[in-house]
């Protein structure tokens, strides 16, 4: 068999074959037509599995929280999955994927699946295929699926449109919390976790966070706030129960899903459109030839763009 026959892999994912699931994630991550076939086979617009985004600044304790959340959900008989994204080097394209390190005690558990991803140049705090990877884990029977973003600064909030719920993790003493407030970042969390309560500065952080919640836009739900420390265990039970309440609440996941399906559609269309347009450019001019023409002053990129658009209108679909 071909190692990447996507139809075969989809079957393995549905049957709960862990090696097949891992291979499927690689196919999705590498993209291309095989990934499209696989996602088409596994597609479920309203999956039973829930996804939870975990975001916040570098080192806030996202992976450590993922570790205790896995343990908690396991104790409730659930099968948690994790997609953990770390930044890829902009220089080499390589990455050190270190999130797993904090969750590695669950490695041998067949009812826990952890997968690391490099962001591979995608901005927004995720990799471009993270949403699909989470869907593959859901199709493999994992629920809930945690999505840990790279450590984010101000505007990388793509996870909000990918996950059913988003947890924002903040810690005392970063000093740049104000940056997050300014960017309206407080609105991304359904739940705001103030971690490292064992460290000084917690009261101050809480004051700033609560004050900034008053600036949440009209009509938006105000996120709940929990204080905890993964190091001491303090506040974790409160976090678990608040998060589980949110997950099981009659919250309007349909609206989230609709938004996600729309984004999915737009993304797939944009990818196909880009590929199609680049092919047209290559076939009708040749990219380097077009560059020569622009440099020689014969035309401009804008004129070429318009011609490509006109050509695509006539091209058979």
């Amino acid at each position: 068999m071909s190692a990447i026959d996507p139809v075969h892999l989809a079957g393995l994912v549905r049957r709960g074959d862990l090696r097949g699931l891992a291979r499927a994630l690689t196919v999705v991550e590498n993209g291309g037509p095989e990934a499209s076939v696989l996602m088409h086979k596994l597609y479920d617009p309203s999956p039973a599995s829930r996804s939870v985004g975990l975001t916040g600044p570098p080192g806030a304790g996202k992976s450590s929280l993922a570790d205790v959340l896995i343990a908690h959900w396991k104790s409730r008989g659930r099968r948690p999955g994790v997609i953990a994204v770390d930044p890829s080097s902009p220089f080499s394209g390589g990455a050190i994927l270190g999130d797993r390190l904090r969750m590695q005690r669950h490695a041998c558990d067949p009812d826990v699946f952890i997968r690391s991803m490099g962001s591979r140049g995608h901005i927004g705090g995720l990799a471009s295929s993270t949403a699909q990877a989470a869907e593959v884990l859901a199709a493999g029977g994992f629920d809930p699926v945690l999505i840990e973003t790279v450590g984010v600064g101000q505007g990388e909030i793509e996870v909000v449109s990918v996950a059913d719920l988003t947890v924002l993790v903040l810690v005392p003493g970063l000093g740049d919390d104000v940056q997050m407030m300014k960017a309206g970042i407080m609105e991304i969390g359904d739940l705001i976790v103030l971690n490292k309560a064992d460290r000084p500065g917690m009261d101050q952080l809480e004051t700033v966070v609560r004050a900034s919640l008053e600036f949440v836009r009209e009509g938006r739900p105000v996120p709940q706030v929990v204080k905890c420390s993964v190091a001491t265990g303090e506040g974790l039970e409160d976090l678990f129960s608040k998060l589980d309440d949110l997950l099981s609440s009659g919250r309007d996941f349909e609206a989230v899903r609709r938004g996600r399906v729309r984004e999915n559609l737009l993304r797939v269309a944009a990818e196909q459109g880009t590929r199609f347009a680049l092919e047209l450019l290559e076939r009708s001019y040749g990219i380097e030839k077009a560059v020569d023409m622009v440099l020689a002053g014969e035309t401009t990129p804008y004129e070429i763009g318009e011609r490509i658009a006109a050509l695509s209108g006539r091209a058979p679909v």
Partner: protein, 140 residues
């Protein structure tokens, strides 16, 4: 198909807690454009193999200074094949006497790097093996 990156898991089985060498190799592999899952110190062979399967890596690199390599390295190989993952290429490094190397190779280790080896030797090994595997079509 799209971009295909080399994925590698670097782990330290056994009890010694010195991971400078492992981290140094991990960084060198990253700087060569590879994705390196680092699982840290004191890993059991089972946990290493299970993580390698979930991460769908092409290579597993083990580092060990404590001298238990003759037991732990082959055990990782066994755990991988028990999970149907014996196609993952194994290499190892650390304080390993020359006379132990043939036995580890028989156990499935494609290369053993001793303390004199440079990071670029490891990178070259990985690139060459990956290229060979890709042409042979064992991994797509």
């Amino acid at each position: 198909m799209g971009e295909r990156k080399i994925r590698i898991l670097i782990a330290k089985p056994g009890l010694d807690g010195h991971d400078r060498g492992a981290k140094y190799i991990a960084r060198a592999l990253r700087d060569a454009g590879m994705e390196v899952v680092y699982t840290g110190i004191r890993q059991t062979p089972e946990a290493i193999a299970a993580a390698a399967v979930q991460e769908d890596v092409d290579f597993v690199g083990l580092s060990l200074l404590s001298g238990a390599h003759n037991h732990l390295f082959p055990e990782v190989a066994r755990q991988l094949s028990a999970r149907g993952a014996s196609d993952i290429i194994l290499f190892g490094g650390g304080v390993i006497p020359d006379e132990d190397i043939p036995g580890l190779k028989t156990a499935g280790f494609r290369a053993i790097f001793t303390p004199g080896a440079s990071a670029s030797e490891v990178v070259e090994f990985v690139e060459k093996e990956f290229e060979a595997g890709a042409t042979a079509g064992t991994r797509a």
